[in-house]
């Protein structure tokens, strides 16, 4: 009998693959169905946002950074705004902090919904996508209400917010918060005890806590491995220390653990949103009172000389930021979003660098899927919740 040839096979996956969450290319080396090595190729969505930001005025960078992690847009702009505000030494009124917290948590829910829908779709629960996108539509409507833009609202600005909350905002948010916990139960009924789903995800893509930290994975992935690290608890910003919430964790470190962590996070986000919306008055302060950064109200521009000059300066030259560098992390939907900003004391940033959780997750991907089955690759990519816009920037 002729000897069996046992050679490995090289398979290309992506960049145009429906389950690579954008354009990620993987070159897999397979022994039968077992993955012997994987080589990710990224950069297809690299748009040079960080270089572009160096040519813009400080405030003009906000829409740019929102386009990096396009599913968690407002956690990018929050990180950027907080870091510039730290250099400027600004403190926000309490109402602005509360609105920012509310927006950040709604953004987290919105991002997790897309994650849950696509992850479910990829492992075979096709209907998840429809249920999740239906709920996310309500959050998009809230974005449209506050900024007129559903995807990248650019509502969070340096120095506060773009403008005050619109009429009907509280009703829209409350209606969503009222309805959503039931929907999470519905999602859980479809997946949490679903035998097919559990067999696809349990003991798949297992990571230990030490490995997760070694690969720089902080966020839901590390919390699925037993860590309780959450920027909101460890390094509170925007007054998160005044909210009552817990950090969900799981210890198994597999795809199913990450799923449970994210679903529990959505419940906690609803919890935080309910506390935040109760604190926010329908009208009130929506920016700090620093005249360097925040343009004066329109009626003063028409009646006072100084206000007119200030208005003109802010819209023509922008404002300057004291020289120095700063890194401010926020807890984004995918983990620690941080913004490293360097200023040389002029009206344009010298360097803007976003810490990208998806970048770290894709770096660790070959390690996570090593010696696993090819069918599990899709489940693992889904569970790391990568967004290629965030990865490539």
């Amino acid at each position: 009998m002729a000897e069996l040839r046992t050679e490995t096979m090289t398979v290309n996956m992506g960049p145009q693959h429906p389950s690579t969450h954008g354009v990620l290319r993987l070159v897999l080396e397979l022994d039968g169905e077992i993955i012997k090595s994987a080589m990710p190729t990224i950069g297809y969505l690299h748009t040079g946002i960080e270089k572009t930001a160096e040519q813009k005025k400080w405030q003009q960078v906000i829409p740019l950074v929102e386009r990096m992690d396009y599913l968690g847009a407002q956690s990018n702009s929050l990180a950027y705004a907080l870091s510039v505000e730290k250099l400027l030494g600004l403190t926000m009124p309490k109402r602005v902090d509360d609105i920012r917290v509310l927006i950040a948590e709604l953004q987290r829910i919105s991002s997790h919904l897309i994650w849950l829908g696509t992850h479910g779709l990829e492992v075979g629960a096709v209907s998840m996508l429809f249920y999740c996108v239906r709920e996310r539509e309500l959050l998009m409507n809230i974005n449209e209400l506050i900024a007129g833009f559903r995807f990248f609202p650019s509502y969070i600005r340096i120095g506060g917010l773009r403008e005050d909350l619109p009429r009907g905002f509280h009703e829209a948010v409350n209606a969503f918060l009222e309805r959503f916990p039931e929907k999470i139960d519905e999602f859980e009924r479809l997946l949490t005890k679903n035998d097919v789903y559990r067999r696809r995800t349990e003991n798949v893509g297992v990571l230990t806590q030490e490995e997760a930290f070694d690969w720089g994975l902080v966020g839901p992935i590390a919390r699925g491995c037993g860590s309780d690290y959450d920027v909101r608890k460890y390094f509170p910003y925007c007054g998160y220390d005044t909210y009552d919430f817990t950090v969900p964790t799981a210890t198994e470190g597999d795809v199913y653990a990450r799923y449970r962590v994210r679903v529990a996070e959505m419940r906690q986000s609803v919890n935080i949103c309910k506390q935040a919306i109760a604190r926010i008055s329908p009208t009130g302060e929506w920016a700090c009172d620093d005249p360097r950064v925040v343009p004066p109200p329109k009626d003063k521009v028409y009646s006072e000389m100084e206000a007119l000059i200030q208005h003109f300066l802010i819209y023509s030259q922008g404002f300057t930021v004291p020289a120095g560098d700063v890194y401010v992390p926020v807890e984004g939907p995918r983990g620690e979003h941080g913004c490293y900003v360097v200023s040389d004391g002029t009206n344009r940033p010298w360097r803007v660098k976003m810490r990208a959780p998806s970048f770290m997750a894709i770096q660790a991907l070959p390690y996570i899927i090593h010696e696993g089955l090819i069918a599990d690759v899709v489940a693992v990519i889904g569970s790391t919740d990568v967004v290629m816009g965030d990865c490539d920037r």
């Binding site: 050679e7 250099l87 070694d214 120095g324 700063v326 890194y327």
Partner: protein, 180 residues
Amino acid sequence: MDASSIIAALQPLVPGASYEAGSSVDFATIYVPADTLVETCTVLRDNPAFAFNVLIEVTAADYFPRDPRFEVVYHLLSVGNRRRLRLKVRTGADGAVPTVQRVWRSAGWLERETWDMFGIVFDGHPDLRRLLMPEDWEGHPARKDYPVQIRKAAQTYEPLEVSETEFKANIERDRVKRAH
């Protein structure tokens, strides 16, 4: 823990290192000379007083025309001690910084991206290739003397022309190479 107390605690542990405190508005910043970077990082990771177990970020800033023009920036996080630290290494366009990939595995791609964007060489890095830019890109786009808008002609390649025998020979060669 501010920068000066970290330096005071570090200096006896890394013989011959000369640190410098940097100014910052958020958390402690230390300038580390490139030749003692790996020893310093190992101590910062392993010593329980520091226990910086996560490398959050490696990036750089180009202060052209200052000399040396680059500052490589490392952001460290200690989950156990709830503390952050920023290390900075000054380097010029011809200089090199040792890789810290043996200390934290996450440094691999972060250093690769920094090389891709700034052209800073990381000594001992096993895989210093283009990451975000295409393989055949010229120059390092995040440098300050790199133009913001450039026009590059569309690059086209001749279609791959391999005969069937050549193709089979390639596969066979590849298989033999992998068998050894």
